[in-house]
């Protein structure tokens, strides 16, 4: 296995341990241990991203493994930083669901094939646009994980077993902040993509189907922010829209090209 493959496997194992630790969540020291495991996974993913780029000679969104590494790193780092920054979530973040998601994405680095054609070095601006898009999609992954946590929490509370879970208002606030950050990053990435497509081809459409998936996810993420004002059941609508947006963003960025090809033939 390659160096980046080992880094990805180590990151996945650390995240799996964080998932187990976060799910158990008993005792005062557990949350800090989980936080340490996430930080370790983030370091391993940084190495994976760097090694993948070095092996290719440059960072390119045309390499599915680099996209998976970028998404996994975004999920872990955003979950860590937003969790620590949030006044009440502290070590919790989006909870174990985000760890499981990031572990799955880290394994994609190993499972996805290397590009079969020679990649061309993308322009710097195009790279910046893609990095922002991946950051936004990863943040949306954190928001989607929070939505899933809210759903599981609601199911457990209805059975009288949700006492150890964070309060609903805290989770909704975390969801709102994560979704808002995702909107900013995705919006900035798409704006750069549109501007670059305009400069190069004259059309607002860059021709990459993954950007259309990202645009659809952005629209739903913005709708999720607006839904948070609906009043009654606003939380459900906001969480559901954030969850769907996360699925669209991650599916589109990892498999958007394949979906289009599968539908063409």
């Amino acid at each position: 296995m390659t160096a980046e493959g080992w880094a990805a496997v180590i990151a996945a194992m650390l995240l799996a341990a964080a998932f187990v630790g976060g799910s158990l969540a008993k005792g005062r020291r557990w949350p800090w241990l989980v936080l340490g495991l996430r930080a370790g996974a983030a370091a391993a993913l940084v190495l994976a991203v760097v090694w993948l780029a070095m092996a290719q000679g440059f960072w390119s969104a045309a390499d599915g493994r680099q996209v998976a590494a970028g998404l996994a790193l975004s999920v872990v780092v955003v979950n860590l930083l937003l969790g620590v920054w949030h006044p009440s979530m502290r070590t919790g973040g989006a909870g174990p669901a985000a760890d499981a998601l990031a572990a799955g994405l880290a394994l994609c680095i190993v499972l996805l094939p290397a590009p079969d054609a020679t990649l061309q070095r993308p322009a710097i601006l195009s790279q910046v646009g893609w990095i922002l898009t991946l950051l936004g999609a990863g943040t949306l992954g954190v928001a989607g994980s929070t939505a899933l946590t809210l759903g599981v929490r609601a199911a457990l509370v209805s059975r009288g077993r949700g006492a150890l879970w964070p309060p609903r208002a805290n989770l909704h606030d975390f969801l709102y902040r994560a979704t808002a950050l995702a909107c900013v990053a995705l919006g900035a990435g798409l704006t750069i993509a549109v501007w670059w497509a305009w400069r190069t081809s004259g059309s607002p459409d860059g021709g990459d189907p993954r950007q259309v998936w990202a645009a659809a996810a952005t629209v739903l993420a913005v709708a999720s922010l607006w839904a948070a004002r609906l009043g009654r059941q606003s939380g459900r609508w906001s969480a559901a829209l954030a969850g769907v947006a996360a699925v669209l963003a991650l599916t589109g960025l990892l498999a958007g090209v394949d979906v289009q090809q599968a539908m063409t033939f």
Binding site: A117, T118, Q120, R121, P122, A123, I124, A169, N170, H172, D173, Y176, R177, A180, L181, C183, V184, G187, A188, L190, T191, V194, W195, W198, R199, T200, S201, G202, S203, P204, P209, V212, W213, A215, A216, A217, V219, L220, V222, A223, L225, W226, A227, A228, R229, L230, G231, R232, S234, G235, W237, S238, L241, L248, G256, V259, Q260, M263, T264, F265
Partner: protein, 473 residues
Amino acid sequence: MSEQSSIPGNSRPEPLSLVWRFFAAPPTLLVLAAILAAVLIVSQVVPQIPPEAADDPRAWLAGQPGVLGGSNGFLQALGLFDLYHAPWFRLLLVLIGLTLFVWAIEAAEIAWRASRGRWTPAQLGDVTLWSRQPLQVRLPSPLAPDDTRDRLDEVLAGDRYRRTEVDGLPAPGVVASRRAAAWWAQALTFAALLLALLGLAALAIWGWEGKDWRPAVGEHWVVGHGTPYSIRLDAFSPAMGNSSGGSAAGRSESQVSWLEADRPLHQATVSAGRPATWHGLTLRQVGTTQAVTIRGSNQAGRPLLFQSADEVASPAEEITIAFEADGAQHLVLLPNEDRFLLFSLEQEDMEGQPSVRVVLLSGAGGERQTLGVLQASDALRVDNLTVNVSLAVRPVLRVDHRPGMAVVVGGLALAVLALAIGWLAPPRLVWLAIAPGIECPTLVHVLSVGGAGQVFWFSGLVARLREALANDR
């Protein structure tokens, strides 16, 4: 929150109509956004008619296989093969535009009142209608109304809220806002998205794009579309090495002249990502391609005749083919030899160098024989014939007129900026009505814009207010 009640002044005053209420309702915007997202995804699932097939879409549709192919009459009836030009899609964009306009006005009104502190009970009702179901809670206070007001004022001042006295509500009260300027960011988000939408509309109505042009140096191109201009390629310098990096050293460049009636008007240099604009027209170098020039002779040294099977042209001793894209193929007939040559452009290799495969088709069965895979000019032997193949790189140039693109990009950038401000510094707005209570000396009615995203900070503020009122000094 725990205690809910109807809000006074919640009825929308005239002259706002039902149409305005419809577009101002959050569900309207949510449904329209969900439909837009669904359309974007469907456009990635159902094959869309490409711009180059716009002249004859039926032929393109006939060539699409599978369940989602052109034979699916239901999809055709819905216009799903050309989603972005379907009338219902344009109607959707118009509805989204109207909704954004109404929301921009509503948000601007809130921002103006929040920054000026000018509120009446009816206006508060308008805002709470906008947020549909406001957050509210009643706090009993053991203090007299004036003392209660002082205590609340201390907490709000400590949290850096700006307070404005308001007569009315259920009782005289205070409107408190924090980071009021950030309310303008919300209005700016809607206005900027509307601006981007208007830019797209301008693009669709007045924009056009010319066909790709693959010229040799010295060739002319008439721009058309009602313009008097033509373009001439004066010089072309191909990229050195891997061309797509965008680095100055590796970038291919085209020097062109804009002409009017063969009179040079303006000279420009274009390359990938560096277009040249002249009187609202933009010339772009959208790529490079290979061109093949074919000559040949027979054993006696007489020139061979060649005829392109793709164009209506008489046989010639020298013909030139410019490839459209990777994988493109061109068939060339040798009229007097009963043979065909198939030229196909293959993908770039590890060094970023494309190659041209030359295949001989001969006999009644169309037997194939690869004559060579060329990366440079070469002479090929076909039995007793010699075919000279010269390779050259040409630019792919395109002229377009995109009157709204700057507005689209500017609108999107502004919307992102406004979203970022809203994320970094979320605005807060809260109303407090202070009135004598029945079971306690004073009852404080706390009210704010509703929604799950607001509960966290509102709960925190209410907890601090409750603590201040309970604190017996």
